[in-house]
């Protein structure tokens, strides 16, 4: 429509304002202007069509309104007219060139913009996905339970000298890694001539018996009354033969036909040193967790626990020898000496250190004047517990030569580590106040220590080195 109006404009202008266009050249000007204008608006093609329409309209007006003879329109144009038309053509071509260039640039820019918008959209989507993945990974990483760090954390807990606590930790670790429903650790009891539970997990009451036999099984009065016959149970077989049992083995032959196998999914020997100390029995394990992985992880956990269990069992054996203080329950000097000797012998062929730390209470005479012997023994126990809390590292405790002395045996600390350990204890006791009844008295402490890293490989030399340090501090 706009092109038609433009096409009609030159003829209409000639009709409306005839006085303005009195020469032939001036009459051509409106027609000539149509070309560059339409070229700028619509391009060269449309300009040609519009020009043709405008020319036709002009001829029609000349023939009908101005009554010009058709022959007079067919004369050859003069030079000025030709110049006007050539100028128009040149201008139109220039405008067309500029217009095309502008259109191309615009199109390229638009294309670039579209690509950018598309890329931004893609990046946003990618970002969203990445955030989601992140959230999932974050959850997984922060909540990992089968992690090596968790295993390490659990194994570190075994560094106590409490056997019950250590065995409970082993079962708890196994439960975390294998999702076991119930399990137990058994050891041989010479008095009962059978296997007795040393630790249990997931037992509600008494010995768990699988499936239909559960109702028929006589329940012992308490969990700890349960006893297994070593000759007729898989636990006994594992203890004797130091071999693992797994229920799949029931299908391999008749070897286990004579045993009661209802309670056993996986049974492993608990080896301490070179001897079988007890048996780990997995009684209830989810079907999907009964796998090669579980068998392997059980063996790994027991293997990692072995050095800790050995230390505890050695300590308990020493305690069982009767040379212990009846009030504190700590072994006496003779046991300390033997323990030190055996530790030094062990570390002569194994990596590690042993440190002897003697704590001497300087104001013991003052304390003993105020408190009874029982109170003082109680104070020693409290001191030891506070040291355990401070260091988060379990040590063996013994009495030393005098009654105002306690000895700690710590492991795997080198000379510097032992010094820092002693400094920490001294710093703790510098502000230490012990209260019994209404009396609160500070404890004055001196420490003598020696480490196998420096003081040689004999118990005598270690004791002498620690005593020397004590004597220096007394001065």
């Amino acid at each position: 429509m706009e092109l038609l109006i433009l096409a009609a404009l030159p003829a209409s202008t000639g009709l409306l304002f005839p006085s303005l266009f009195d020469t032939a050249v001036l009459k051509m000007v409106p027609y000539a202007l149509v070309f560059p204008v339409v070229t700028a608006l619509r391009g060269l093609g449309w300009a040609s069509i519009t020009g043709l329409i405008a020319g036709s309209a002009g001829i029609m007006v000349q023939l009908t309104v101005a009554r010009v003879a058709p022959a007079s329109l067919l004369v050859f144009p003069d030079v000025e007219t030709i110049v006007v038309w050539l100028g128009t053509a040149a201008l139109s071509l220039a405008i067309s060139f500029l217009r095309n260039h502008s259109i191309n640039s615009r199109s390229t820019l638009l294309q670039r913009l579209r690509t950018s918008v598309h890329e931004v959209g893609q990046l946003q989507r990618k970002n969203q996905v990445l955030e989601q993945v992140n959230r999932v990974l974050e959850g997984r990483v922060s909540s990992q339970k089968d992690s090596i760090t968790f295993l390490h954390d659990q194994v570190r807990k075994l560094a106590s000298l409490n056997l019950d606590q250590a065995l409970d930790t082993i079962l708890e670790t196994i439960a975390m890694f294998t999702e076991l429903g119930s399990g137990s650790i058994w050891k041989y009891d010479d008095d009962k001539h059978g296997l007795v539970p040393a630790a249990v997990f997931g037992w509600s009451a008494g010995l768990p018996v699988a499936g239909s036999q559960a109702a028929a099984a006589p329940a012992p009065a308490s969990i700890w009354d349960a006893t297994l016959d070593p000759d007729t149970t898989v636990e006994g077989y594992v203890l004797r033969n130091r071999k693992m049992f797994s229920v799949r083995m029931l299908l391999e032959g008749s070897e286990f036909d004579r045993f009661v196998t209802d309670r056993n999914i996986i049974t492993l020997p608990v080896v301490i040193g070179a001897k079988v100390w007890g048996v780990l029995n997995i009684e209830d394990l989810p079907f999907e967790r009964y796998s090669q992985y579980t068998e392997t992880i059980l063996a790994i956990i027991l293997s990692l626990s072995e050095p800790y269990l050995r230390r505890i069992v050695e300590y308990e054996t020493l305690n069982d020898q009767g040379e212990i203080d009846p009030d504190t329950g700590y072994p006496l000097y003779s046991i300390l000496y033997r323990t030190l000797e055996s530790d030094l012998e062990r570390i002569s062929f194994e990596p590690g250190f042993v440190s002897l730390i003697v704590l001497e209470i300087i104001n013991y005479t003052e304390l003993s004047a105020l408190w009874s012997k029982d109170d003082l023994r109680h104070m020693f126990v409290a001191m030891k517990n506070d040291i355990d809390k401070l260091k988060r590292m379990k040590v063996k405790v013994f009495h030393f030569k005098e009654e105002n002395q306690l000895v700690l045996l710590a492991y795997d600390l080198d000379q510097d580590g032992t010094s820092f350990f002693c400094l920490d204890i001294l710093s703790m006791f510098s502000e230490y106040r012990f209260t019994i009844g209404d009396t609160t008295i500070p404890i004055e402490l001196v420490i003598g220590f020696s480490s196998s890293a420096q003081s040689g490989s004999s118990a005598d030399s270690m004791v002498a080195a620690a005593e020397h340090l004590l004597s220096v501090q007394r001065i």
């Binding site: 970002n127 990445l130 955030e131 992140n134 959230r135 990974l137 974050e138 959850g139 990483v141 922060s142 909540s143 990992q144 339970k145 992690s147 760090t149 968790f150 954390d153 975390m176 509600s204 699988a210 499936g211 229920v247 799949r248 029931l250 299908l251 391999e252 196998t261 209802d262 079907f287 999907e288 009964y290 796998s291 090669q292």
Partner: protein
């Protein structure tokens, strides 16, 4: 070398507590990418001591908390509750309560919607959440059985709508097996296998049921009949474990 103070500088004062927050902060141009990297590689597992109470709190506050994370949180709370630090023990006790309430609220929501829109999908969600609650209480057998029993009763109430062998029947059998109702589960498995002999889930449950009854040769038989799936499916490793080498029955 640029020090931590420069790398982890936040002009707006916003300190991201999590990896996702750091990523979001970086996307919005208010944090350096180093913050994201720092957070991404410094995550303290929630089961490890010393307890990361903030991380536990953050996980607990997630509205779409999944059961796997919830179970691990519960394991951590169970241990925390025995802590001599009373505040920590109290935090653990409250968190256990909050965790349980989260799942119960979900069940109540589904049940309310079910009154006007009885769709099998919603019914499955109710059963799923009851089973999640049972999983949360693995160490408390009474509560575990209670929630499993609720799931069983709900299923039986809506059994006409829950008929998909892969989703509904297997879920019901799993509930029965978890409740140690092995005889009943075995009967249902046998009947279901008559109709769907090639169903992998049912076959797997048959093996699981036999395992619980200590019928190990039957376990192997079912494992051998388990139609081969893709090599990375859930049952592949178990099938290999039970049916290869010496354990072939």
């Amino acid at each position: 070398m640029i020090d931590f103070k420069t790398l982890l500088h936040s002009e707006t004062g916003f300190i991201p507590r999590t990896e996702a927050q750091a990523l979001q902060g970086f996307s919005e141009g208010i944090l350096n990418p180093e913050y994201y990297i720092y957070r991404a590689v410094n995550i303290h597992p929630i089961l490890e001591e010393p307890w990361d109470v903030h991380e536990m709190d953050r996980l607990l506050a997630q509205p779409d908390l999944d059961i796997e994370t919830a179970v691990i949180l519960m394991a951590a709370f169970e241990r925390m509750i025995q802590d001599p630090d009373k505040e920590l023990a109290l935090f653990a006790a409250e968190s256990i309560n909050a965790l349980e309430r989260k799942f119960i609220t979900r069940i109540q929501g589904y049940r309310t919607t079910l009154e006007t829109m009885p769709e099998p999908g919603l019914m499955r969600n109710v059963i799923k959440e009851y089973r999640s609650l049972a999983r949360l209480h693995t160490s408390r057998p009474v509560l575990r059985s209670f929630y499993l029993e609720e799931a069983r009763l709900f299923f039986e109430e809506h059994k006409k709508s829950l008929v998909d062998p892969d989703v509904d029947i297997t879920a019901f059998i799993e509930i029965l097996l978890d409740l140690k109702l092995v005889d009943r589960a075995s009967r249902i498995i046998r009947n279901a296998l008559k109709h769907y002999p090639d169903n992998r889930n049912l076959r797997y449950l048959a093996a699981r049921s036999a395992y619980l009854e200590h019928r190990f040769s039957d376990v192997i038989k079912h494992m051998e009949l388990l139609v081969e799936g893709s090599s990375d499916d859930t049952y592949a490793a178990l099938q290999l474990f039970w049916t290869s080498g010496a354990c072939r029955g």
